[in-house]
């Protein structure tokens, strides 16, 4: 009751307030309120529409994955399969040798990302806090690393690993081809990562280190004991992005690996592999709609781990960029 009363009186007060205003002021307020309400509707429509565009391929993947053989040739099946089976999924998992490939990819991926984040952080710190001769020119190289497409250096790089250090040591098809560049902050998109870390460390207050120096800590120990603990969330964000980039890379891995399989490279060869397994012939022609089923199933299982990671660690992707210091 009392609630109702106060509300009423508030309404009355508002009405009084409205009456005290001039006609123009009133119409202005009313127009604004209407505009705000319209905008809420518009926003909902826009966001839902665009959200649909983003979800469309994912829904399509799921729909394709569970189609039975008969559904593939049935044009009336658009979204929901009539005879849902798991056979496509099972065949695709087998053809990709999914669990082994996954293990391989994760080993390569997580390891490289971890090493690369550390090496890039160290380099970025060096660029952020120390002044030395040639720093500008050296940082120019970092920018160059961001700009130069991998395709330019890929062939000479291949020979670099094929005859490692000018000797007959062949590193092609070993994980060293990925780990060595990652260790020395030269892996996939490491230029960008060095830049991010440099910006981040520049944004931290200098007092942090000065205090450590006065306490008798050397620069390396300061970095390990003072800067790294402060940078942990930024580390995590860059690490997650790095995992995504390594996961999605197929150009570089297909160049170095023929025996070692990663998710991305097997996905690219999935079609032939499946044709061999299912029809015993890599040149057989099957219809587009049939192809799509297996292809989409392959897509689904290759991004599934990323999607799971994203659902749980979404916060670090979306909020991390602000903390990473790229924006200051």
């Amino acid at each position: 009751m009392t609630d109702n009363k106060t509300e009423l009186s508030e309404k009355q007060r508002r009405r009084q307030h409205m009456q005290s205003l001039t006609k123009e002021e009133r119409s202005y307020l009313r127009r604004r309120e209407l505009g705000d309400k319209l905008w809420v509707v518009c926003r909902a429509v826009i966001l839902c529409g665009l959200g649909f565009i983003i979800f469309y391929p994912l829904i399509y993947m799921i729909s394709c994955t569970f189609r039975g053989r008969a559904d593939m040739n049935d044009p009336t099946v658009v979204w929901i399969p009539r005879r849902p089976t798991l056979s496509v999924l099972r065949e695709t998992i087998e053809a990709m040798d999914f669990w082994n490939t996954l293990l391989n990819t994760v080993l390569l991926n997580v390891g490289c990302s971890l090493v690369q984040v550390l090496s890039c952080a160290v380099t970025g710190y060096g660029f952020a806090r120390f002044s030395f001769r040639g720093k500008k020119q050296l940082f120019g190289i970092v920018i160059l690393m961001i700009l130069v497409p991998m395709q330019i250096i890929s062939v000479p790089l291949y020979f670099q690993f094929r005859f490692f250090l000018g000797t007959d040591v062949n590193l092609i098809d070993t994980m060293w081809t990925m780990y060595l560049p990652a260790m020395t902050a030269n892996g996939i998109r490491s230029g960008l990562m060095i830049l991010i870390f440099r910006q981040f460390f520049r944004g931290l207050p200098r007092e942090l280190e000065d205090a450590a120096y006065i306490d008798g800590c050397g620069p390396f120990m300061t970095f390990v004991r003072v800067m790294i603990p402060n940078a942990l969330s930024s580390f995590l964000t860059v690490f997650l992005f790095s995992i995504v980039w390594y996961w999605n890379d197929y150009y570089i891995s297909s160049m170095y690996f023929s025996e070692t399989k990663t998710i991305a490279t097997t996905l690219c060869n999935l079609e032939n592999e499946l044709k061999l397994r299912l029809f015993g012939d890599a040149t057989v022609k099957i219809s587009r709609r049939e192809q799509a089923a297996w292809r989409q199933a392959g897509c689904l299982i290759s991004i599934a781990p990323l999607l799971i990671m994203y659902t749980f660690l979404q916060k670090y992707f979306t909020e991390g960029i602000e903390r990473s210091g790229l924006v200051t």
């Binding site: 966001l47 565009i53 658009v78 380099t123 030395f132 050296l138 999605n248």
Partner: protein
């Protein structure tokens, strides 16, 4: 080790000055990268430049080089039937797609920066492309959206435009445009998919920039009676303008260095199928030259309009 090398405030005179020592530590921090970059970046870069001036042959597993000057470059530009076409196509596509991606991502960032229910979910959805769009999965999705007949996605978005409703409307209003506007809108509508899917990081960056605007700016604007429109152009836009440049460069690089674009595919053909490393390198270098020129030009133009808060 740490105690000995620490600056001791003049209590113990050390051999090297503080500045010198710090510089040495600087080299220590970047040393690993420098070593790697010489080996995995600079040497290959130089070699690739040398390849582009040579004709490369492979005999018994050994590489033979013969100096041919600019032959590879002229072959790439004059003899290859696809290269120039692809180059032109990629350039034009980047030229019109980049501004659209920027406008779109700024718009979405402004929307996602408002307070409403389900905002976290909306953000999560719009950043989803970030984790997929760099990989082969995206290429497959994109292809399938183009070409799977009954369930194709993209053309559906533009059926409305195909009937030339916009052109009719413009004619009705007295602006005969000869279907050019319709053509443009159709192209945009056809590419909604591509634009939405390649704006993830851009939205992320813009959003971070928007969150840096102090709330007091908004209050002040409201007290002065600014409309949302004025607020956007007079306050928001100057604040995010430095990120327009960053985003622009990011978008341009991303679309140019995308392994799926046609120029890259063409280069790949000469690297893996018709082995001709010299020609492939020449093509890659021409392409890279164009990228550099484009980025330099863009940076130069945009820098004139950018507002820096601290400088």
């Amino acid at each position: 080790m740490s105690r000995k090398k620490a600056p001791s405030g003049g209590a113990k005179p050390s051999k090297l000055s503080y500045e010198r020592r710090k510089a040495l530590y600087g080299y220590g921090f970047i040393g690993l990268w420098l070593l790697g970059t010489i080996w995995f970046f600079l040497i290959p870069l130089g070699k690739s430049l040398i390849y582009s001036f040579n004709s490369i042959g492979i005999e018994n597993g050994n590489m033979t080089m013969k100096w041919t000057g600019l032959d590879n470059y002229s072959a790439a530009l004059n003899k290859d039937q696809y290269y120039v076409d692809y180059l032109e196509k990629t350039l034009i596509e980047t030229l019109w797609k980049t501004p659209l991606i920027l406008i779109f991502s700024l718009f979405i960032a402004v929307v996602l920066n408002q307070k409403f229910r389900g905002r976290t979910l909306a953000r999560a959805v719009f950043f989803l492309p970030v984790i997929i769009a760099t990989g082969p999965v995206f290429r497959i999705i994109n292809g399938d959206m183009d070409a799977t007949g009954t369930t194709s996605g993209q053309p559906q978005f533009s059926t409305l435009m195909k009937t030339d409703l916009v052109g009719d409307l413009m004619n009705f209003l007295g602006y005969g445009t000869g279907g050019r506007i319709t053509g443009f809108i159709t192209a945009v509508a056809d590419n909604v998919f591509g634009i939405v899917w390649s704006s993830g990081i851009q939205i992320l960056l813009f959003l971070a920039a928007l969150q840096n605007i102090p709330p007091s700016a908004r209050e002040a604007a409201q007290i002065e009676g600014a409309t949302s429109w004025e607020y956007f152009w007079k306050i928001v836009f100057p604040y995010v303008s430095p990120f327009v440049l960053a985003n622009l460069i990011f978008t341009v690089i991303d679309s140019f260095t995308d392994p799926m674009n046609e120029v890259m595919q063409r280069i790949l053909v000469f690297q893996t199928v018709d082995i001709n490393y010299g020609l492939a390198s020449a093509m890659a270098w021409i392409y890279f030259g164009i990228i550099l020129a484009a980025i330099a030009l863009v940076t130069f133009i945009v820098n004139k309009f950018v507002y820096y808060e601290v400088d």
